[in-house]
């Protein structure tokens, strides 16, 4: 295997030391010692005891915490959501603080960021206001199995559409109970044995390209969603054992880009370029409700393992949790700044992982929508020599394994395995190709990635 990369945490602390040589760790930054001098230099003339514009007084710790007329300006542990931090880092100079002056020096901004991230400590004696998150994995009971793990028997025959070359692996899923892999092909889905890599058979999908493939929790039903771009889109449910079509849901005017089947198999949620999440009943194929809050293409949808939450995300970075029974909003998870490409629930339902083109990989505490673990640069971009500019470092795919481990695939041509504490424990190169999909086999032994050339690579956890 490739030389093991230093863990993200190690690198982060190395970064901090470089930036602020006087601090050995961010936890030592306090209001009294470090922050107030910065406020005094730049802020207190307008936001102090004397003026307190917008009712914001930064002169004492207590009033700073209280915020201004618009509410709190500091959120412990979340600089990105803290108004104060956004004000001093605003790109638009008309919105930036301090007004009509040069922005704060980068080193001071970094100190403020670390202070917020480390929990807004007032003095060396005070403790962090960020409550430590318990990210431990608690295995959920395996769904009551009806018989042996579902594997395909003889499948219906069909004439496959000609393929000039393999379709990029734009969709892939591993059965949660059986050594079975389902992979997108042109107007078909290939079923592959996860241990032997043998092709078991194919399911016809004349509806177009399969953009989303998901197994039901018991592994007995395969959901395939997709269609023909700007022409048609629908979701098909297949019986994994027989390959029979169980039902067809949705009749869209564009290929479906995101979809999921609820754990009880009663609902299918789908979305795409229409910016709307539509939720259908599987028994009657009727639409139950629509969610119209998204402002851009819906790019990812996922039901929580217990069926009590529905997550959906869009191309503008919007990410929400809904009540699947009627579509009421539960939480807005604001952090992504660019298209969200993947959503995945940990099997115990306590963590939702999201990732996107902004390079963020986040484990959200599903209980209150707190970003328990946030990696800002989970797949750092490849930087060829002589290339200076911004490069996309998107994270394209996520898959949780049976023990809460997470596999991610990114534009840096790497697949990474993360433990439940959010530490990268393995990294596999797929160069020169970009891995588009990731999957972990039902037993957790096989790590899989599908790439843009239509190839699937497999590693074991021992690699």
């Amino acid at each position: 295997m490739t030389p093991r990369r230093p863990s993200q945490l190690n690198r982060l602390s190395a970064f901090l030391i470089l930036l602020a040589p006087t601090f050995t760790s961010a936890a030592e930054i306090t209001y009294a010692e470090h922050i107030k001098p910065i406020f005094r230099e730049h802020c207190l003339k307008c936001h102090g005891e004397d003026q307190a514009k917008a009712d914001l007084n930064l002169e004492t710790f207590a009033t700073a915490l209280k915020g201004g007329s618009g509410g709190a300006v500091l959120i412990a542990g979340r600089a990105s959501q803290s108004l104060l931090f956004n004000a001093i880092t605003a790109a638009d100079e008309n919105e930036r603080m301090p007004q009509k002056k040069s922005p704060l020096p980068a080193a001071q901004i970094e100190i403020i960021r670390q202070w917020i991230q480390s929990g807004l400590r007032e003095s060396p004696a005070s403790s962090s206001l960020v409550v430590a998150r318990d990210t431990r994995f608690k295995p959920a009971p395996i769904p009551t199995a009806d018989g042996p793990p579902p594997m395909p028997g003889p499948l219906p025959a069909f004439t496959p559409a000609p393929e000039r070359r393999p379709l990029a692996v734009i969709a892939m899923a591993a059965s949660p109970r059986a050594p079975l892999l389902a992979v997108a092909g042109h107007e078909q889905v290939r079923l592959i044995h996860a241990s032997t890599q043998a092709l078991i058979g194919c399911l016809a999908f004349p509806e177009g390209q399969p953009n989303v493939i998901r197994f039901s929790r018991d592994g007995g039903v395969l959901m395939v969603a997709g269609g023909k771009p700007v022409h048609s889109g629908s979701v098909i449910l297949f019986d994994v054992r027989t390959g029979r079509r169980l039902t067809r849901i949705g009749d869209e005017t564009d290929a479906i880009l995101a979809a999921d089947l609820s754990p009880d198999q009663e609902l299918v949620a789908l979305g795409g370029s229409g910016k709307t999440v539509k939720v259908y009943g599987t028994t009657d194929g009727r639409i139950r409700y629509k969610i119209t809050k998204h402002t851009d293409w819906v790019t990812a949808i996922a039901f929580s393992p217990d069926g009590t939450k529905l997550a959906s995300a869009d191309r503008a970075g919007g990410l929400y949790l809904w009540d699947p029974s009627a579509g009421g909003i539960l939480l807005a998870l604001a952090e992504h700044k660019a298209a969200v490409r993947a959503l995945a629930w940990r099997s115990d339902g306590r963590m939702l992982a999201s990732a996107g083109e902004d390079g963020l990989l986040i484990w959200w505490d599903a209980h209150d929508g707190w970003p328990a673990i946030n990696h800002p640069n989970a797949h750092p971009p490849l930087r060829p020599s002589g290339y200076f500019g911004k490069l996309a470092n998107g994270v394209l795919a996520l898959a949780f394994g049976p023990e809460g481990e997470l596999l991610s695939a990114g534009r840096d041509q790497h697949v990474r395995l993360w433990n439940v504490a959010g530490q990268a424990v393995k990294s596999f190169a797929t160069s020169p190709r970009i891995p588009l999909q990731a999957a972990i086999t039902h037993d957790g032994a096989g790590l899989l990635a599908g790439d843009e050339a239509g190839s699937i690579r497999q590693w074991t956890r021992a690699d």
Partner: protein
């Protein structure tokens, strides 16, 4: 590594889903490669059977030109900064790497379908087979479709880095002469590449005409004559624009060249052009018309009655040339050109100007400019000193250049770079900030290298609040390229290499800019001087010089620029050369051939007086006096520059009369900020506003003559000479005398006559 067997296995009626295109793959099948990674196990689902067509289209050479030609990457479509309907292409294709990424990797599987190329969304959209905001752009039968299809079928490969880039284009023929309407001419466009190869790109170029009422051009490059005149059709391909001149002649009936005398090279070059276009020049203007025109153009006011009589009574054959020389030495000339430069350089002062543009600084700047004009400083030296000036804005006039060129609370290198270029070269380089200039030769590389000349310009507070020191901080990093954020060291426009690190970039900039060899500079200055004297630039607008806006008489502009450079950038020499030409002295009266000519200088153009000149003119002819707020008594309008009680970072003319009559508010560098279009409010102001009547009251022109017992006929004549620089015609004399009637002492009738003259079109216009 096992290759999975085909499927469906037992009952497959036909070849398996891993389908091979045997027919297409004939002759060159790529061996399936099993890639084994050091730490991974490759599971290949399918083995690609690659198609090696005769020639796989290249993304940059073949595919991107289709986007260009079909308009996909135009500004209103996917070339807009945020793309269209979720898909962005770089405008006119400046970012090939980015375009390739967005097509092939941004949303894998969405835009291209490598498994079933015909089903690629790109093709379905372009051919209108699925809803597309842009509609159907081309059909499946076209070469455009085939190019895209073959490229996708080949796997949408990226180009090798060794692909030769285009270096330029030519259009053939480059001159088209139509002898009548309805004639046509096919043009072809050829691109040259860095490896020396050439290629016919007519089918990939875009065509346009500058004047569709003279000639039109279709998508295939077929030029068709429409009506008499001259224009340019131009073709664009890649980042290049090239023009071909088109002349549509009127019928040749009865056209004989009258062979008028030529005073100098200007006349000869205009005559050549007129003969080519079968235009006849108007007659020479009479002495009265010439006199008024010259006074207005050179001193900013008409001649006084005494000056009129002196010239009219002069019998010398060369009296026009003598008068030109005399006026070139006048204070009026210095004031007028100080005013014109002050407008271009945006001299403005404020009483509360926290950024170094205090009234005191503006005064120092103004006086320095005036000194340069008064001493006839060579224009290249004048400009060079502006560019390289440093130090206190209160003691060193030219140091105000960078703080006043853009009045702003902070110095923005991009704004300085744009305005500097527009002012001194006529090039609107800012078009190349976000994309290569679509209608000129400038690239983003040119732009960012240019901006880097200005990244170090800074000012700091001096000894008192009004004082600022301007300096160039050489340690400031150069501008970064938009596309890849490369640092772009300071490089002159069109320059191949950056200014060496050990040189002061401003010195290098000045040396390059003001060199006699730099046509950008000499053409720009010559064109601006010509425009002031002849009412229209050879390139119009004067501050928009580009390949697709060619001069109406290219040899003349070249000759004027050369003349200026040869005479060491002597402003008065150039003005003298133009004003002593016969072309300058032609009448505005059209003949049968040139009534519609506004571009070839076959006759004088009617020009409404500039706001400041008009006000001075009203004051001078009424013997009046006009005060300007914050200026001493006796200040002329052309000596006035905007002063503000506050700061200067906003448009301001400094006087309501200037607002109405369109004096430049000195807020932008655009030449069009000086407006000379007549408007209704101008007419109303002259009729009923406070200017005309107040000045008439002030001057007491009529009362004094009545008091002196001047007879009515003489008063009428005086009023005509004052306002129009001519004697009344006999019919006018008779009519006016009739109005006065028996009571020849009644001032009111004279005032009505005077007022009417001041409100006449003849008075408001230079003709």
């Amino acid at each position: 590594m096992k290759i999975p067997p085909p499927c469906p296995m037992p009952t497959a009626p036909r070849p398996p889903c891993a389908h091979h295109h045997r027919s297409l793959a004939a002759g060159c099948r790529l061996a399936a490669r099993a890639l084994r990674q050091s730490n991974g196990f490759l599971l290949s689902l399918l083995l690609a059977t690659g198609l090696c067509a005769e020639e796989i289209p290249s993304f940059r050479r073949d595919v991107m030109p289709v986007f260009f030609r079909a308009g996909c990457n135009a500004g209103a479509c996917h070339g807009s900064a945020r793309g269209k309907d979720g898909f962005m292409l770089s405008l006119f294709g400046y970012d090939a790497k980015g375009d390739y990424y967005r097509l092939t990797q941004e949303l894998v599987g969405r835009r291209l379908n490598l498994s079933a190329p015909e089903q690629s969304l790109l093709l379905l959209k372009a051919t209108g087979k699925v809803p597309h905001t842009g509609g159907e752009l081309f059909s499946k039968e076209t070469s455009y479709y085939q190019t895209l299809l073959q490229w996708i079928a080949a796997g949408a490969p990226d180009d090798a880095t060794s692909l030769p880039a285009p270096t330029g284009i030519t259009m053939s023929p480059d001159h088209i002469l139509f002898s009548g309407a309805h004639e046509t001419q096919k043009t072809t466009v050829t691109a040259r590449y860095a490896d020396g190869s050439q290629r016919d790109v007519t089918a990939l170029a875009l065509f346009a005409t500058n004047n569709p009422t003279t000639a039109k051009v279709d998508k295939e490059g077929l030029v068709a004559a429409v009506g008499r005149g001259d224009t340019t059709v131009f073709a664009r391909f890649n980042r290049f624009t090239i023009g071909a001149e088109v002349i549509v002649l009127p019928p040749a009936t009865n056209y004989t060249w009258p062979n008028p005398p030529a005073h100098n090279f200007i006349d000869r070059l205009v005559y050549e052009r007129l003969q080519l276009l079968r235009l006849l020049p108007s007659e020479l203007a009479d002495d009265e018309t010439f006199l008024r025109r010259l006074y207005l153009d050179l001193t900013g006011a008409p001649p006084s009655p005494a000056e009129y009589r002196a010239f009219m009574s002069d019998q010398a054959a060369n009296k026009r040339a003598v008068l030109v020389d005399q006026l070139l030495q006048s204070d009026g000339f210095t004031d007028l050109w100080t005013n014109l430069w002050g407008e271009m350089l945006r001299v403005k002062g404020g009483s509360y100007a926290p950024t170094g543009t205090d009234v005191k600084a503006a005064d120092v700047y103004y006086e320095w400019i005036r000194e340069q004009i008064a001493t006839n400083r060579p224009l290249n030296e004048f400009v060079a000193e502006l560019i390289t000036a440093t130090g206190s804005n209160l003691t060193n006039g030219p140091a105000n250049f960078f703080t006043m060129l853009v009045h702003d609370t902070k110095i923005t290198p991009k704004n300085l770079a744009a305005d500097f270029s527009q002012l001194f070269t006529g090039v609107r380089i800012q078009c190349a900030e976000c994309h290569n200039h679509p209608f000129d030769r400038w690239t983003q590389d040119d732009y960012y290298g240019w901006v880097s000349f200005f990244t170090g310009i800074q000012r700091k507070l001096g000894a008192e609040p009004r004082e600022f020191y301007v300096f160039n901080d050489l340690s400031v990093a150069p501008a970064k390229h938009l596309v890849d954020e490369r640092p772009m060291p300071a490089t002159v426009l069109g320059g191949a290499t950056a200014v060496p690190k050990d040189q002061d970039p401003r010195q290098a900039l000045a040396t390059w800019l003001t060199s006699p060899q730099n046509e950008l500079f000499s053409r720009n200055l010559a064109n601006r001087v010509w425009a002031h004297l002849c009412g229209r630039g050879l390139v119009e607008p004067v501050d928009d010089m580009r390949v697709s806006n060619p001069p109406t008489n290219a040899p003349l502009l070249a000759a004027l620029a050369q003349h200026l450079a040869d005479t060491h950038f002597d402003l008065r020499n150039l003005v003298r050369t133009i004003c002593t030409s016969r072309i300058y002295q032609l009448s505005a009266q059209p003949n049968a051939t040139n009534a519609t000519d506004t571009r070839q200088f076959s006759r004088a153009q009617l020009r409404r007086l500039r706001a400041d000149v008009l006000l001075d003119t009203v004051v001078k002819v009424t013997d009046g006096e006009r005060a300007f707020s914050a200026f001493p008594k006796g200040t002329r309008a052309i000596q006035h520059y905007p002063r503000s009680p506050g700061d200067t970072a906003r448009p301001m003319t400094g006087d309501s009369f200037f607002d109405i009559f369109g004096r430049a508010a000195r807020h932008s560098v655009d030449a069009s900020d000086t407006k000379t279009e007549p408007t209704l409010s101008q007419t109303l102001h002259l009729i009923a506003g406070d200017t005309v009547q107040q000045q008439m009251r002030r001057g007491q022109v009529i009362a004094q003559q009545l008091k002196a017992g001047v007879p009515p006929e003489a008063i009428i004549e005086d009023l005509y000479i004052r306002t129009l620089s001519r004697k009344p015609r006999p019919s006018e004399s008779t009519a006016m005398r009739g109005l006065i009637g028996q009571d020849t002492r009644d001032e009111h009738v004279y005032q009505d006559i005077f007022w009417s003259l001041l409100n006449s079109t003849e008075f408001i216009f230079n003709h």
